[in-house]
């Protein structure tokens, strides 16, 4: 009698252990799937946010109102530190900043939402520089300023080209911008006034040559080493936290 009872109990226990293992495995699988999905969605969402940091369109700028004019901006509009870069496509030190310092700043600060970089035109090398500045604004009109900016600096300083209007339009087309619209924008000099505003504002801030940077209003003249930018940015971040 006793033996029989124990045997039945043993069977029941074995069954409940099997059920338990099944339940625990199902819950583990479910948790892995849910956790994985949560990570996937988060990862996808943050990647798309980073992608949109690169080229903010003028509409986005005006809707938040944090940047007075619709200037080409790299980075989060809520970033506590703003670097206004007064630059020109034919100035070698501007190119040095663009090739060496800017990528480090983007990696270290812009992607983390701590710094935004605003591009302001300050052409000093005559008519070709003015034309290139206008072309930059035309690329910005199509929401593709920074791509065009990188391509333009590369064309001038890595391929040693001087670009006339036709070459500027061709460059835009090679990046997949709307060629006819770009041509119309450039030849009509639609952004001449905007350009003059940039120059006037720069002069008012004390800009005399390129590149000059205004980091939260503090002027940095010339293609200073990355460490100099880092130091001022850190000071400004410290101040913004207080």
């Amino acid at each position: 009698m006793k033996m029989k009872k124990a045997g039945r109990r043993g069977k029941r226990e074995a069954l409940s252990a099997r059920l338990f293992r099944l339940r625990a495995s199902v819950v583990t699988a479910l948790a892995l799937v849910l956790g994985g999905a949560l990570i996937g969605v988060s990862y996808w969402h943050s990647s798309s946010r980073i992608a949109s940091l690169g080229s903010l369109h003028s509409d986005e700028l005006s809707s938040t109102g944090t940047v007075a004019t619709a200037e080409p901006t790299k980075g989060s509009l809520e970033a506590p530190v703003t670097i206004e870069e007064f630059s020109e496509f034919y100035c070698p030190y501007c190119a040095r900043f663009t090739f060496n310092t800017l990528p480090q700043l983007v990696e270290e600060y812009v992607k983390k939402g701590l710094v935004k970089v605003v591009f302001r035109n300050f052409p000093v090398h005559g008519e070709p520089a003015i034309l290139a500045a206008l072309a930059g604004e035309c690329a910005h009109e199509q929401g593709r300023f920074w791509e065009y900016h990188d391509r333009l600096f590369a064309a001038v300083f890595k391929e040693n080209r001087q670009l006339d209007a036709a070459a500027l339009i061709e460059l835009a087309a090679s990046l997949g911008l709307d060629g006819p619209a770009f041509q119309e924008c450039l030849t009509s000099e639609r952004y001449r006034e905007n350009l003059e505003e940039d120059i006037a504002e720069g002069r008012q801030l004390g800009v005399r040559g390129t590149p000059t940077f205004s980091i939260n209003g503090r002027l940095v003249v010339g293609a200073q080493p990355y460490e100099k930018f880092k130091q001022i940015i850190e000071e400004e971040l410290e101040r913004s936290r207080r």
């Binding site: 293992r21 819950v27 479910l30 956790g35 988060s42 969402h45 946010r49 970033a79 983390k112 936290r241």
Partner: protein, 159 residues
């Protein structure tokens, strides 16, 4: 039985710490200064990774710890099969939390390259909860000798 109860109490205490930690991080996210080793907390908080679809990570933490706390309380109160289910639920939520915390810690270490003290604290808390919940759940299957020994001890004492 006593083993299960003290385990659930430990999980409940950890979950309450987790809730407080998340609440503190939410307090920072809402624009207040908090105590932190280095400047990692505000760097991490201001990065693009601190929100997903407008939901701050600290709110995710609050929700996660609330689920864990709820099911651990249930495991403490309920009996029989319902208790087993509640224990499995604690384990499931803790596993999701562990995975997500792992992802966030990876972001801190290798992407943002800044460490937010209270985020690490949360990762440690959730890892501890998971360890306890896993032992509580799987221990019965894989450590049968200890549980049987524990169960038979009172009988022996009665002799």
């Amino acid at each position: 039985m006593r083993g299960t109860a003290s385990m659930q109490v430990a999980i409940i205490v950890l979950a309450i710490f987790g809730l407080a930690d998340s609440a503190y991080l939410l307090y920072e996210h809402l624009g207040h200064e908090i105590v932190c080793i280095g400047r990692g907390c505000s760097i991490v908080d201001q990065s693009v990774y601190s929100e997903v679809f407008g939901v701050p990570m600290s709110v995710m933490g609050l929700v996660g710890y609330a689920f864990i706390l709820g099911s651990a309380l249930a495991a403490l109160r309920l009996r029989g099969r319902a208790r087993e289910w509640a224990k499995t639920t604690v384990y499931g939520f803790a596993l999701i939390g562990l995975l997500y915390s792992g992802y966030l810690t990876y972001l801190e270490l290798f992407v943002i390259r800044a460490i937010c003290t209270w985020c690490v604290v949360s990762a440690v808390i959730v890892a501890a909860i998971f360890a306890l919940a896993a032992v509580e759940l799987w221990g019965r299957t894989y450590l049968p000798s200890t549980s049987r020994a524990r169960a038979s001890r009172p009988a022996e004492a009665g002799k």
